[in-house]
């Protein structure tokens, strides 16, 4: 039987960070994820912003964990080998009303403990962002704001936890919960069963239905769809910072930001129309374009390489829920972790493990905990293309697959692709390879390399190419062998 001290339900960034934190102690831990891979929900379709911390009302969980998390993020990313950039953010004002709001935000930010925060005038703003609209009057400049790759962070934290002994079960859709002595038994839709003493519900958009399985109806969540457009790296210098509209009664705009990989991200929209399918819409595209064009001059929409949508869960308490369930002993609920959830995740994880899990079940420190995660050969944390020529040749000498470029747009080698399939958490799908390596994420969107990636996946897993999927059962790439 599969008995664990702690089971984390949901492979998003919050669950991932908690899983990793748990492996710092001598605990037997498991993550169950209902999709075929981790980072498939809100941690994927995410802006990737490490917020400075002036948004949330002082005293809320959001404010507290935002500032704490932002301070931890750099170290976490360095340990996990995740791309991270301190680009700073600007909340841009377009009216006198907006300027007033900036002052409120500045005050609140200082109260929340945000450092290096100031309001800048038009001239300085122009100097920082030459492409900003001429209508912009000034901005709240948060030097400490950063960008990070949200799914890389999720994957890396789970991978590192697995390197430290955590287990992962994917395609595990929890449908039944029952007490079994000191354990709780979770049953998946396919009949698999696992036992855990403490259950952490970090199921993101599914947190409410998971809580309900435990008889906990203490909170309600809703979904907001967010749509994004991504521009080619060629347009990567459109903006340098993350640009926000000033929040106002007229509603939220979209953000315009560089990504850590050098693309430009526009979005998200925020739609509550009851449609649970994360799909893009013509209205969404129109809204993003309208807003982005208000923010910047001449946005190069011809350079859009893809668009996507994701659902974000919010909760009726309008703050992060981080608490032990009153309805079910041994259940810890993490719900409504919307923005700034990504930023807060490392701090939430520390809090949940130190203040909640260890109080329920004491454990010794794991002296063998490995902090670092490497992507190449247990030596390098960077993508292959960022190595020096000498480093590259060292790697190729050991493994010839690093001498073969498979994804020409992003410069990804066969070695990196095979590594993503072998390393924790193993990529099993074309999208899994893409999220881990960026192969297929460039301007041709996999047109040239997909067929080769399908072959490599089949080869590594010892299956037919017909079994290889885009992102799980039912999404097979190929339907049959030609006649």
């Amino acid at each position: 039987m599969n008995n664990y001290d702690v089971i984390v339900i949901g492979g998003g960034v919050v669950g991932g960070m908690i899983l990793r934190e748990l492996t710092r102690y001598e605990l037997k831990v498991l993550m169950v994820e209902k999709n075929c891979d981790v980072a498939m929900g809100q941690s994927k379709a995410n802006s990737g912003i490490v917020h400075a911390g002036f948004d949330a009302e002082t005293g809320t969980n959001k404010a507290k964990f935002n500032v704490l998390g932002a301070n931890m993020m750099q170290e976490v990313c360095e340990e996990l080998g995740v791309n991270y950039k301190n680009n700073g953010s600007l909340v841009v004002a377009f009216s006198k009303e907006d300027i007033k709001t900036l002052k409120v935000l500045l005050k609140r930010g200082k109260k929340n403990g945000v450092k290096n925060l100031k309001i800048i005038a038009k001239k300085e703003l122009k100097a920082l962002e030459p492409n900003i609209s001429d209508d912009a009057l000034g901005a709240l400049y948060a030097k400490s704001a950063c960008i990070v790759c949200p799914y890389s962070l999720t994957i890396a934290s789970i991978g590192n936890a697995m390197d430290n002994g955590a287990d992962l079960l994917v395609d595990f859709d929890t449908v039944k919960v029952e007490r079994d002595g000191e354990y709780t038994k979770l049953t998946a839709s396919d009949g698999r069963e696992v036992l855990g003493k403490i259950i952490i519900n970090s199921a993101g958009a599914g947190a409410e239905s998971i809580a309900n399985l435990f008889g906990d109806y203490s909170f309600k969540t809703g979904l907001r769809r967010g749509e994004y457009m991504l521009l080619d790296r060629e347009s990567g210098n459109l903006v340098n910072h993350t640009l926000f509209f000033t929040p106002s009664a007229k509603g939220k705009g979209v953000l315009v930001t560089q990504t850590v990989d050098g693309n430009i991200l526009l979005g998200p929209t925020s739609v509550e129309d009851g449609n649970p399918i994360p799909e893009t819409t013509d209205e969404g595209f129109a809204f993003i374009k309208e807003k982005a064009s208000q923010m910047c001059k001449s946005v190069p929409y011809y350079n859009v390489i893809t668009s996507f949508a994701g659902n974000r869960a919010f909760c009726d308490r309008h703050d992060f829920i981080i608490e032990e369930s009153k309805a079910y002993k041994g259940l810890i609920n993490l719900a409504g972790i919307e923005s700034p959830g990504l930023t807060s995740a490392p701090a939430i994880a520390k809090y949940v493990v130190n203040e909640m899990v260890l109080k329920i079940k004491y454990a010794y420190v794991n002296h063998y905990f490995i902090r670092k995660r490497y992507s190449i050969d247990n030596l390098f944390q960077k993508p292959f293309k960022e190595l020096t020529i000498e480093e590259k040749n060292f790697v190729i000498k050991k493994d010839k697959n690093y001498g073969k470029i498979i994804c020409r747009c992003e410069g990804i080698t066969e070695g990196e692709i095979r590594n993503a399939i072998r390393q924790n958490p193993p990529a099993r799908t074309v999208d899994g390879v893409k999220l881990r390596t960026r192969a297929g994420m460039g301007r041709c969107q996999g047109g040239f390399c997909q067929s080769r990636i399908v072959e490599i996946l089949a080869e590594e897993n010892g299956v037919s190419v017909l079994e290889i999927t885009k992102n799980g059962k039912g999404s097979e790439i190929l339907v049959e062998e030609g006649k």
């Binding site: 697959n401 001498g403 040239f448 017909l466 999927t469 006649k483």
Partner: protein, 415 residues
């Protein structure tokens, strides 16, 4: 570091013809850099016939056409580095490349011919609403699966884009047992060859919907259907014209883009109109000793023209290596009325007879194709129809070029 005379980036039809031409013009120290494990480029997956009518006066398949040039390269014992990707080219013609055997290595060349070809515009660039399930392919990717890998990417297919690759794939998928339900074209005309509409669609009763586009993709794991709308003259979908089609596969054949990422690393100046390098009639770019030819320079209709252009580049590169750069005066060639792009964009005044290629911006009837310079018409030809899908030419004689005083403007005027 290794020093060579001529580096050719890409072993497709352009690179092969350029290599042979340079060799036959006296340059023996040539290296072709090819990222795939075999020469021939995209022709290898174009197993249909119709190639080579202009050049060989017979209808060859893609691999057969490629093979004639591959044989030519082998006979001349021209060095080919396969499975070798060029990572960077500098304007000083220093090439950084990578492969499994040599690792990352550098080669310095006296001249370089860019022959990287083009890539397909992806579905992602179109902002189509809906989900992102499996079953969405560019036509070329589907072609690779069917013809090279031997697998079917779907059974119930719709195709967006009636360019030649879209049309060819409609026939190909049908012959392999798939049901191709329809081909949709945003424009009021197909950019594909008429014969391909006849033999790829009409032969199989596949409907072609002009002025239509896909406005939504449906399906969670796999595509289950699409919504198609008619478009107005501004190519905007018309509300109320939505039609639904069940399908498991959508192929996109929505344009080709010259792949100039390496050209940029070498500071080669690109034309926003042709999306390829700005060249003179020798196919030399703004960077001395770097030449370009084939689809990386301009997207051609026929491979026969690619070969022809590559031979110009090959010959020019050998001249450059043997005789050095000739400094002559140049005049520019500009796009006039109804002209999308011209190539070459510069002419040396001492140039030989030169064909100037161009494309029109839209379908034109009873059109006069003109070249003017200094207020004088130096070339004029009438044509019944000119379409964007077919490359047009203007021929300028050596005498006319040497007499040029200022820039040449190419236009296509309708009376």
């Amino acid at each position: 570091m290794r020093n060579i005379d001529l580096a050719i980036i890409g072993g497709g039809p352009a690179g092969l013809a350029a290599a042979i031409s340079a060799y036959d013009n006296g340059i023996k120290n040539i290296v072709i850099f090819e990222r795939e494990d075999k020469l021939g480029g995209i022709l290898n997956q174009c197993i249909h016939n119709g190639f080579g009518l202009t050049r060989f006066k017979e209808s060859l398949t893609g691999p057969e056409y490629a093979n004639r040039f591959i044989d030519g390269v082998l006979e001349r014992i021209i060095e080919v580095l396969k499975e070798t990707t060029v990572l960077e080219i500098t304007k000083d013609k220093l090439i950084t490349a990578i492969n499994s055997e040599d690792g990352v290595f550098q080669v310095e060349a006296k001249a370089i011919i860019l022959a990287m070809g083009c890539r397909e515009r992806s579905k992602g660039a179109l902002n189509i609403a809906g989900t992102r399930p499996a079953g969405i392919f560019s036509a070329g990717t589907a072609q690779k699966y069917v013809n090279i890998k031997g697998y079917m990417p779907g059974k119930k297919v719709v195709i967006l884009g009636s360019g030649d690759i879209g049309l060819i794939m409609a026939r190909r998928m049908t012959l392999e047992g798939a049901e191709v339900k329809a081909v949709f074209e945003l424009m009021p005309y197909s950019s594909g060859l008429k014969r391909n509409i006849a033999q790829c669609l009409d032969d199989f009763n596949i409907p072609l919907y002009l002025s239509h586009t896909i406005t939504k993709i449906e399906g969670k794991e796999r595509v289950t259907g699409i919504v198609v709308s008619e478009v107005d003259e501004n190519k905007k979908p018309i509300k109320g014209t939505e039609k639904h089609f069940d399908c498991d596969t959508v192929l996109f054949s929505v344009g080709l883009i010259p792949e100039n990422e390496l050209s940029k690393t070498a500071s080669v100046e690109l034309s926003p109109r042709s999306k390829g390098a700005i060249v003179d009639e020798t196919r030399e770019t703004n960077v001395s000793g770097i030449f370009a030819c084939g689809n990386v320079l301009q997207v051609h209709d026929l491979v026969d023209f690619v070969s022809e252009e590559a031979e110009i580049a090959g010959k020019s590169a050998s001249n450059y290596i043997l005789n050095g750069k000739e400094n002559s005066e140049t005049v520019s060639v500009k796009e006039g009325k109804n002209v999308l792009y011209v190539l070459p964009q510069k002419l040396n005044v001492n140039a030989d007879n030169t064909k100037i290629f161009f494309r029109v911006t839209n379908t034109l009837k009873d059109v006069t194709i003109k070249a003017e310079s200094g207020g004088e018409v130096i070339f004029s030809r009438k044509k019944k129809v000119a379409v964007p899908g077919e490359m047009e030419t203007v021929l300028l004689s050596k005498e006319k070029i040497s007499a040029l005083k200022g820039e040449v403007v190419i236009s296509a005027e309708v009376e």
